[in-house]
């Protein structure tokens, strides 16, 4: 197996535990490659398995068959302790956002930085810059629960970007955004891709489907991922 940069799925299978006899697995023999410097959009109907695919790519779940390689390394086969450490290269936007509601916006951004053993000054600087980029500069001290849905979603996106991870996975990142903020979020992802990050976005948002920023588009249906043409 050659050391391919980026994230690679090879004959990836997944079904939920106890669901082995089900007619249709969530993912069946998925082959895909997500290259550095490229933005990939994955579309699919609700329940098609987009979020599950992202969770598998992020190492939060283990595939029931096949493997996932990150820069050529078989991360899906690694023991938990190795994958925990590898996940520091990952930034993820959850569909349900998964912010800590009682922590302030700035503290939510600290969460991925604390275990990276950075200096406090460096962390503060990065958080401030990211909050400005996300149009949240005035809300840094507010608890996450007091932010609006759109602000919280931008905070979740910012948390994925802070620390400049190698792999960025986003699940419906623009669902609550107006057009202007949606464009700004795509631009942020484009900037990260230009710096060499691997970007995978799962969305049904027509604004993303129509965006020219994405280099690749895939459609997930019946457990299978197929390349689709740009509109």
């Amino acid at each position: 197996m050659e050391l391919t940069p980026g994230l690679t799925c090879h004959r990836l299978d997944f079904h939920w535990p106890g669901d082995r006899s089900a007619k249709r697995p969530v993912l069946a023999s998925v082959d895909a490659r997500f290259a550095p410097g490229r933005l990939t959009l994955i579309t699919g109907e609700t329940g098609a398995g987009k979020s599950t695919l992202l969770h598998l790519l992020a190492g939060l779940l283990r595939p029931t068959g096949g493997e996932i390689r990150a820069d050529g390394r078989p991360v899906s086969r690694w023991p938990s302790s190795h994958r925990d450490l590898w996940r520091r290269n990952m930034g993820i936007v959850f569909q349900h956002l998964a912010l800590v509601p009682d922590l302030s916006a700035a503290e939510n951004l600290l969460l991925p930085l604390v275990p990276r053993k950075m200096a406090w000054s460096g962390m503060q600087e990065q958080i401030h810059e990211r909050l400005v980029d996300a149009d949240l500069a005035d809300l840094g001290q507010f608890p996450a629960r007091e932010l609006s849905g759109g602000q919280r979603q931008r905070l979740a996106m910012t948390r994925a970007l802070v620390g400049s991870p190698r792999f960025i996975l986003a699940d419906e990142p623009t669902a609550f955004q107006d057009d202007d903020h949606a464009r700004r979020m795509i631009a942020q992802l484009q900037t990260a891709a230009d710096e060499g990050a691997v970007i995978v976005v799962c969305s049904q948002d027509p604004r993303l489907k129509g965006s020219a920023a994405f280099h690749h588009r895939c459609h997930l249906a019946s457990g299978t991922l197929v390349r689709s043409n740009p509109p």
Binding site: L61, S80, R87, P112, V114, R145
Partner: protein, 385 residues
């Protein structure tokens, strides 16, 4: 688990995590402080009693020789007793002592007349009493303003109190009355030339048992010889007894600790989703364990300090010391206790074994058990937001 300067953000985050639930953490901290206090009072008291007693025993003579007859204790001729003791090789500086028991206003008191009975440190700053005067211990008279003291023995004697022994010598001087030799002889019914007993020091302490036999043979009348090791042994037995009582007294405290430990373990199950999120953001199991241990240390260190400081105040400083003595020994007549460095270290190690280690072990085991799952399953364990 090695901490370095790079753990600084983790420590700050641990402190922030404590502040997320201040009420609950304050309760845990208060429980830990209370448990530490209860256990530390019992352990400090027992340890301080032993240290104090050992210090007093170190100043006492190696052997005490008493004459006995069919009626019990009997006075002996001082010159003949000194001559007999001097004839025994290894027995040094035989000193006749004049002392006995009389009845005072608050009950029996120990009457002494010769400086040999009173440790030198006790006498510092006090002028030896002359005829008609007395220096008394803290427990001899109930009313310290009344300077008159009436004692009854073989005769009735009225003395003027000219001073009291320092409180820190209470273990040795609580019921002591120091008076002039002539007054003591009159009160105890001793004629001139007679002594109550003979104090003897030894050239080698290890020869105590052998010299006791030689001394008994050297005296022309029956004697009872008491060694310092007898006193130490008796005290050790008493300390063990008190230690047993202290352990029983600590049972509620230990039950409280079990409650805290169980609560700590249970708390982890409510944080599954939070830990799953942290793992999805790049925290490892080691990071989470370090975070929880740091949190536990930050929480327990002030609680332990507060518990130990309170226990120290209750054991060593009146009037709280009297309450502690009453609780543990059933008596408020408490000597001023002392604790040396090794005694303090032993107590700290015992408290570490009883409080700190079980608490940190509970935090460690609960955390390892809870964070070992796959992050996705942990995140789904609790509803979000």
């Amino acid at each position: 688990m090695k901490f370095s300067l790079k753990e600084y953000p983790l420590l700050v985050w641990a402190a922030r995590d404590i502040l997320r639930r201040p009420g609950r953490e304050l309760l845990v901290s208060a429980c830990l402080a209370s448990v530490t206090f209860l256990i530390a009072v019992a352990l400090l008291f027992s340890q301080a009693m032993e240290t104090t007693w050992n210090q007093l025993m170190a100043r006492a003579p190696d052997l005490i020789v008493r004459r006995i007859d069919a009626g019990g204790w009997a006075p002996m001729p001082a010159e003949a007793a000194v001559a007999a003791a001097t004839s025994v090789p290894g027995a040094l500086a035989p000193t006749p002592r004049l002392w006995g028991v009389a009845t005072g206003p608050q009950g029996p008191v120990t009457v002494v007349a010769s400086p040999g009975v009173i440790p030198e440190t006790t006498q510092q700053g006090l002028t030896p009493p002359v005829s008609g005067q007395a220096i008394v211990g803290q427990g001899v008279t109930g009313d310290t303003r009344d300077r008159r003291l009436i004692l009854t023995g073989q005769d009735r004697l009225q003395l003027t109190i000219i001073g009291t022994f320092p409180a820190e010598t209470g273990l040795a001087t609580h019921d002591l009355v120091w008076m002039a030799p002539a007054d003591a002889r009159r009160l105890l019914g001793l004629s001139p030339g007679q002594t109550s007993d003979l104090a003897v020091n030894l050239f080698h302490e290890e020869e105590e048992a052998a010299i006791q036999a030689d001394l008994a043979d050297a005296f022309p009348w029956p004697v009872r010889i008491t060694g310092r090791s007898d006193g130490v042994l008796r005290h050790h037995q008493r300390a063990v007894h008190m230690g047993g009582i202290a352990v029983v007294a600590c049972v509620p405290a230990i039950l409280a600790l079990v409650w805290i430990v169980a609560g700590t373990a249970a708390t982890g199950s409510n944080q599954q989703a939070h830990w799953g999120l942290l793992k999805s953001l790049g925290w490892t199991t080691g990071d989470l364990v370090r975070l929880q241990i740091s949190r536990a240390v930050l929480l327990s260190a002030p609680a332990l300090a507060a518990g130990l400081a309170s226990a120290h105040a209750v054991v060593f400083y009146p009037p709280a010391a009297g309450i502690a003595a009453w609780w543990i020994t059933g008596s408020q007549r408490l000597p001023a206790l002392v604790l040396n460095r090794s005694g303090a270290m032993i107590t700290l190690l015992e408290i570490a074994a009883l409080v700190i280690i079980p608490y940190l072990a509970a935090v460690f085991l609960a955390t390892v058990k809870q964070v070992a799952n796959e992050p996705w399953h942990q995140m789904m364990a609790d509803p979000w937001n």
